[in-house]
Amino acid sequence: MAGGEVKLIALVKQFGDVTAVDGIDLEMPGAEFFSMLGPSGCGKTTTLRMIAGFEQPTSGQILLDGEDMAFTPPHKRNVNTVFQSYALFPHLSVQDNVAFGLRRQKTPKNEIKQRVGEALELVQLTGLERRKPAQMSGGQQQRVALARALVLKPAVLLLDEPLGALDAKLRKALQIELKALQQQVGITFIYVTHDQEEALTMSDRIAVMSDGRVEQVGPPSEVYEEPSTTFVADFLGVSNLMRVVAHGDSDGRCRVTLGDFELHASRGETHTTGDTRIVIRPERVHLEPHESSGENRVPGIVERVVYLGNSNQIIVILANGDRVQALVQNTGEELTYKQGDPVRVYMPSEALRVLTDTGVAPIDEDALPPVGSVA
């Protein structure tokens, strides 16, 4: 089952005047759990459908183990799909659903029986062979869809938001199961999702997409910790983005001015000069008493405190007018800060990141980040 290397070269898909996928280059090595992450309409599903063969690319190449598949019809590709709606055949039993692909391949009867059994065991559905899809729960249907695709031992498994229809708890459990399953079968999984948490949990690498383009590709920790564009920083959890004027590198750190305040940022494009943006994750923002002083500290007033359960989200208006979110773990102790309290916001230089502004900024700077969307 080696292989499963997918390479997309300058892939473009247009629907009439709309460009859904606008020149994507991606390399997915074999046996990797690769996620395409982005908001709806970013072209991730269209890309997946082109790899599956349901859509024909307008231009570009899709290489599967070095062979261009762009014009091979879906039934002749060695890839299988788990659909968002599962698309289990309602008139067939679980057994017949899973055996469908093997029968198309003219597999001998006893081998079909054996492999269907193995596939159902893999997804822990042994004993439900006679059921019809409608007689099963959402989670079980999901597993049948997985078994139906995996039984064919494809080089690549495509998953189109397969957990989208399930409730939060089941989704979490299945995320871990899916990752374990991928490691067990050792084939390439290409996973499409708009849920950044899901992508971070399961993936070996993530491609963050926006407007039909890839913004950044890398391991979860890299795209989360070191977002290279404002879009990535914003899409992967709530970020504090601030417009600053950069003054270039001095001893490895970038000196920036935020209004009247001077800050030092030691991550990202520290050589930048001129107008740019800096970003800091809410969990890296510290709140200190108003009297404290030192580098990278900006005075502000607590505007709002939002209880999130495991943490408190504190929104502070800085003296220059920017809003900054801080995430304070809920340790059971009472919060020191209330609405209207003056505070000093400490943004450590090693947590401040200078971004290259790609212009793809979905951020409305004056609007508050949505409550509860914290990673």
């Binding site: 879906p74 055949f89 309602p90 008139h91 469908f100 409608a134």
Partner: protein
């Protein structure tokens, strides 16, 4: 004491009109008025049918005065029973023949048209989908006249009689099949076909193994409805007939009622109605059987199927 009682009761004194009005308009009450109207309509529409059925068993030539029960108009009367009268038997035969041929021809063509129209995107597809509804809204008399002119002036190789009648019935029946099957196709969506292709099924295998089984209920339902509207048809059959040997039951009943109505014409109507009812009920039953447990899916078709009943 009297004061304490008087205050609340004073607010409860309604006029009769207010009470009736409140009873009807009470938004929390049972929908009694709605039920009343519904049952009123059902009784009103079924009563004449029941009366016709009743008088087909009348032991007299009268269609208005009840003289006791008999089945002689069906079987035993040597001249005027359905069983013995050649023209009755011929009409019944012609009606069933037309309906059967209509089902056999219109259903497959309609299914193929529905598949084509549902899949066709681009210039002209919208117009075609809309034009498909034309036979449903065209007055049948217009359709009948047009077809007669067509067959007598242009396509003169089609003689009036059974062939012309079958062509006429097929022409307007196809629309019903297309509308029902296309509705089902839309509710099924493309994902099952894509899943089949993804699992290695060629387009023809996907059609045979996945789409056809999923369409079967709609196909059966539309066949039942085609049968029902064909056997029921008067206008087109009349325009395209060429005399006694292409007379259908509705035509015969029409002529007989204008001349000397007999209980046996009611009997003919009863026979036709029974056959239609059985066909439609069987069709809908098959539809329900195959779509059981699909939960919500195909409800539009369900409506059409239910409408046919």
């Amino acid at each position: 004491m009297s004061q304490a009682v008087a205050t609340p009761t004073a607010t409860k004194e309604f006029t009769l009109w207010q009470r009736v009005y409140g009873w009807i308009t009470n938004p929390w009450g049972k929908p009694r008025f709605l039920v009343l109207i519904t049952w009123g309509y059902i009784v009103w529409s079924i009563a004449p049918v029941l009366i016709a059925i009743q008088f087909s068993f009348n032991n007299s030539r009268s269609l208005t005065v009840w003289h006791g029960f008999t089945t002689k108009w069906y079987f035993s009367d040597p001249v005027d029973s359905i069983w013995h009268n050649a023209s009755y038997r011929g009409a019944l035969n012609q009606s069933l023949k037309l309906a059967a041929l209509d089902v056999l021809i219109a259903t497959p063509i309609g299914v193929m048209l529905a598949l084509g129209l549902a899949r066709w995107r681009g210039r002209g597809s919208g117009a075609s989908n809309f034009l498909m509804l034309f036979p449903l809204v065209t007055p049948e008399i217009v359709m009948g006249v047009s077809l007669l002119l067509l067959f007598t002036q242009l396509f003169t190789f089609v003689n009036t009689g059974t062939l012309a009648q079958v062509l006429g019935h097929v022409t307007f029946s196809i629309s019903y099949v297309v509308v029902i099957v296309r509705g089902r196709l839309f509710s099924i969506g493309r994902s099952y076909e894509e899943a089949a292709a993804d699992l290695g099924a060629s387009p023809s295998a996907a059609l045979r193994l996945v789409l056809m089984p999923l369409l079967l209920p709609a196909i059966v339902a539309s066949a039942a409805i085609v049968f029902a509207i064909s056997i029921d048809d008067f206008v087109i059959s009349q325009w395209l007939s060429n005399g006694a040997n292409s007379t259908t039951v509705p035509m015969l009943i029409y002529d007989a009622t204008r001349a000397t109505p007999l209980p046996s014409t009611d009997g003919l109507a009863t026979v036709i109605m029974t056959i239609t009812l059985i066909t439609v009920v069987a069709g809908v039953a098959v539809f329900r059987m195959f779509t059981r447990g699909e939960g919500g899916r195909g409800s539009a078709v369900d409506d059409v199927a239910g409408f046919g009943m």
